[in-house]
């Protein structure tokens, strides 16, 4: 699963899905994660970057990242790797 590549993300956390016409907002940590996901970074790389920058432990980030991805999946912002 990866982020659909036509998703538009602005610097202030506004997310637009041109395929569905839906818009979303993300908070700053969500924006950082979303941008890394769009670049195709691995889960472990993302977790490592976050704990480097923020005052938080790895297992919490991992749990939150999975939850975040699950929300993105529910909002149909993710696609299968072969799509």
């Amino acid at each position: 699963m990866k982020i659909k590549n036509n998703i538009a993300v602005s610097d202030n956390g506004f997310v637009f899905n041109p395929g569905s016409g839906e818009s979303f907002t993300v908070n700053p940590v969500g924006l950082v994660m979303l941008n890394m996901l769009r670049k195709g970074l691995s889960q472990s790389k993302i977790v490592a970057t976050i704990i480097e920058e923020y005052n938080i432990d790895a297992s919490s980030v991992e749990r939150d990242l999975n939850d975040f991805k699950e929300m993105m999946r529910q909002y149909r912002l993710m696609q299968h790797d072969d799509e």
Binding site: G13, V15, E22, S23, F24, T25, V26, N27, P28, V29, G30, M33, L34, I50, E53, Y54, N55, I56, S60, V61, D64, L65, D67, F68, E70, M71, M72, Q74, Y75, L77
Partner: protein, 453 residues
């Protein structure tokens, strides 16, 4: 070493056309990190979570504001603390120190008031459940007995005859004040003449002293005008007694039921905006009394049995986030160690709940659940909350009334209650329950002691 940034759970939220967005708006809540100089964090680490915290300062302030509201409008006013609202001894005694009598509705509450040192003649005994033993005690102590039904009236007559004592009595009157539901299950009805009939029975018996008239028109009343109706109806009854028997009623007891600043479920506007002030209630009651047709030589004492409005906002319940969860519909849910077992009022209020630590303006619609393994354990079905993490602490506001009396020992044990005094010092006024406190009450028959698994 560089300082790391504060982490907040990532969140993505869909913008719906029918929904205002709270993103980018200024934070609608401020975190409540301290309660009267005491850090929430410290209170929890010292006394555990969950924890009820009561403010002595706030109680005394509410009391004096209410007293002032009535006393500036009416010459003779007496408050009687409603024990069922919160009958922790320390709390009752604050009210007694302020001059409040006791208003009780069971033998248990009656004994508690006596034990607290309240003189029997300053105890008002209400409610439908008074045993013969309770009544004998109350008669001997010269307590004010508010008769609820005819069976009680006859029983009191018998006691008076047998003991050759004169019970001091009032009747509770129910009536149509234009509000719904009408509380006609308590006392004698005004409109259909039951109340007048009961008064005649008392006067004819010649064995009891009719000293007062009592009503209590409902709970969480938002309409002061209903009290005006009630006060003038009671005054009218008093005048009828005066005319017929040349007997002056000594007091008119308007009960309680004033709304607090909590928000009832289903209310569009929050309680902090719409609940009338104590001055509104005082104005309605006192002006109705003074404009009534009751013309005694001495104006009757006005008794107010307020509970909720005097204590609701003087207490908080502190709790801790146990876990975060995503529901199947994508909604966020948070499990707290505070449940309906100790926050009984969550059944009828949308309690204001604020985090006890700093947060950003990003929020999520969240369901707040209690810790019980029971589907009904819902603290808030849907509340817009900042991102909460496991271990975060929360403050539930306005919990002073009815929680520390209606709480239940269900699934888990009840927590400590602390009081912050006027110098901001913390006192435990009720300890947390322990396993032995409960098991000490139990007995296991010998044949059930042993088993093998």
């Amino acid at each position: 070493m560089t300082v790391k940034r504060t982490y907040e759970r990532p969140v993505i939220k869909k913008l719906e056309s029918n929904m205002p967005n709270k993103f980018g708006m200024r934070t609608i809540y401020e975190p409540v990190t301290h309660l009267e100089e005491n850090a929430v964090k410290d209170l929890i680490s010292e006394y555990g979570s969950p924890l009820f915290v009561i403010s002595e300062t706030k109680i005394r302030k509410n009391y004096s504001a209410s007293r002032q509201a009535f006393e500036t409008r009416y010459p003779r006013v007496q408050f009687a603390w409603s024990y069922k609202t919160n009958y922790l001894d320390a709390i009752c005694n604050i009210y007694h120190q302020e001059g409040s009598w006791a208003e009780v509705v069971s033998g248990f509450e009656y004994d508690k008031a006596i034990r607290n040192g309240v003189n029997g003649s300053k105890i008002i005994f209400n409610g439908p459940d008074k045993s013969e033993e309770d009544l004998r005690k109350a008669v001997t102590n010269n307590s004010l007995i508010h008769i609820d039904h005819l069976d009680e009236l006859y029983l009191l007559q018998d006691i008076a005859r047998a003991t050759k004592q004169r019970p001091k009595v009032a009747i509770r009157v129910n009536m149509d004040t234009g509000v719904f539901p009408m509380w006609d299950r308590f006392g004698f009805n005004y409109e259909n003449g039951q109340a007048w009939d009961a008064l005649n029975k008392i006067m004819f018996s010649g064995q009891m002293d009719l000293v007062g008239l009592h009503t209590h028109i409902g709970t969480f009343m938002l309409a002061p005008s209903a009290y005006a109706v009630a006060a003038s109806k009671l005054a009218h009854l008093a005048q009828s007694v005066l005319t017929k028997y040349n007997h002056e009623i000594k007091y008119i007891d308007m009960g309680g039921g004033f709304a607090s600043k909590n928000t009832l479920k289903g209310s569009y506007l929050p309680g902090s905006d719409i609940s009338p002030s104590i001055d509104d209630f005082a104005e309605a009651i006192t002006s109705a009394l003074m404009n009534s047709d009751y013309r005694p030589k001495t104006p009757p004492l006005l008794i107010i049995e307020s509970g909720r409005v005097l204590i609701d906002d003087a207490a908080w319940l502190l709790g801790t986030v146990l876990a975060n969860k995503r529901l199947s519909d994508g909604r966020r849910s948070v499990i707290l160690d505070v449940g309906v077992n100790i926050l009984f009022t969550a059944f009828w209020y949308d309690h204001k709940i604020t985090p006890a630590q700093a947060f950003t303006s990003y929020t999520e619609d969240t369901a707040l659940y209690g810790p019980l393994c029971m589907n009904i354990d819902v603290v808030r079905e849907n509340i817009n909350m900042p991102m909460l993490n496991k271990g975060d602490q929360l403050v539930v506001h306005h919990v002073g009334a009815y929680n520390m009396t209606q709480w239940m020992q269900f699934i888990t044990l009840r927590p400590k209650v602390v009081l912050i005094d006027e110098k901001f010092k913390v006192h435990v006024i009720r300890n947390n329950e322990t396993l032995s406190i409960l098991t000490d009450l139990e007995a296991v028959p010998s044949h059930l002691v042993d088993f093998e698994l």
